[in-house]
């Protein structure tokens, strides 16, 4: 199993541009998450999904959108990029809310908006 994969690894955007961060997992996990990690701030949840077709907002959803058309994929869309969206983005997945709920993380996408 590849686990959780993310593309691209690095990206530089100009203010106002849009892009999609890709996330795929091959563990047949129901739950998927998007986090951003800023220096000294810890991981903040942007959006999450409990299954195909179902998504919900996390702590910091403004400026982002998600979709979940399949179990495997959970892309994150940035519309009208702003410097405040410069961060490292991590996608994660987990099997269930009950019992063991450890989340497995991808390698991250480092995004710079200038």
């Amino acid at each position: 199993n590849a686990g959780v994969t993310q593309t691209p690894k690095f990206r530089i955007l100009k203010i106002g541009q849009s892009m999609t961060l890709q996330c795929t997992q091959d563990m047949n996990h129901n739950y998927m998450y998007w986090y951003r990690q800023d220096p000294g701030m810890g991981l903040k949840l942007i959006y999450y999904s409990v299954g195909a077709g179902i998504t919900d907002k996390g702590e910091v959803p403004n400026g982002y959108n998600v979709s979940r058309s399949t179990t495997e994929d959970f892309p994150l869309r940035l519309e009208l990029a702003a410097p405040s969206q410069t961060s490292v983005y991590f996608c994660a997945s987990s099997y269930s809310t009950s019992g063991d709920n450890e989340q497995y993380f991808g390698p991250g996408t480092r995004l710079t908006v200038t």
Binding site: Y31, G40, Y48, N101, G108
Partner: protein, 110 residues
């Protein structure tokens, strides 16, 4: 509001010098407390889940313990390869989401 505070922010140890990292938490009903390791430029890697006060889990040189207010990650005789940032997170009974602390950066010198 659920909160996680980790201390110290950074810790420098000599190889073989044992120590502990602290994770203090407030949560409206704990479902689980999670420890992760994060290497520079990589995603967090799962280490342990603890569910109830008094529980302990071990993996190689690491041992995690849990009380009703805090968790400790004990590192026994650390090696340079243990250098990483260690993250703590809690999950409340009522929520799917994890709330993360800001981490402890550990540097082990040979």
């Amino acid at each position: 509001e659920d909160q996680v505070t980790q201390s110290p922010e950074a810790l420098r140890l000599q190889e073989g010098e044992s120590s502990s990292l602290n994770c203090s938490y407030t949560v409206s009903g704990l479902r689980g407390l999670f420890w992760y390791r994060q290497d520079p430029g990589k995603g967090p890697e799962f280490l342990f889940t603890l569910y109830s006060a008094g529980e302990e889990k071990e993996k190689e040189r690491l041992k995690a313990t849990l009380t009703k207010k805090e968790s400790f990650l004990h590192i026994t005789a650390p090696k340079p390869e243990d250098s990483a940032t260690y993250l703590c997170a809690v999950q409340a009974v009522s929520f799917q989401k994890l709330v993360f602390g800001t981490g402890t950066r550990l540097l082990v010198s040979p």
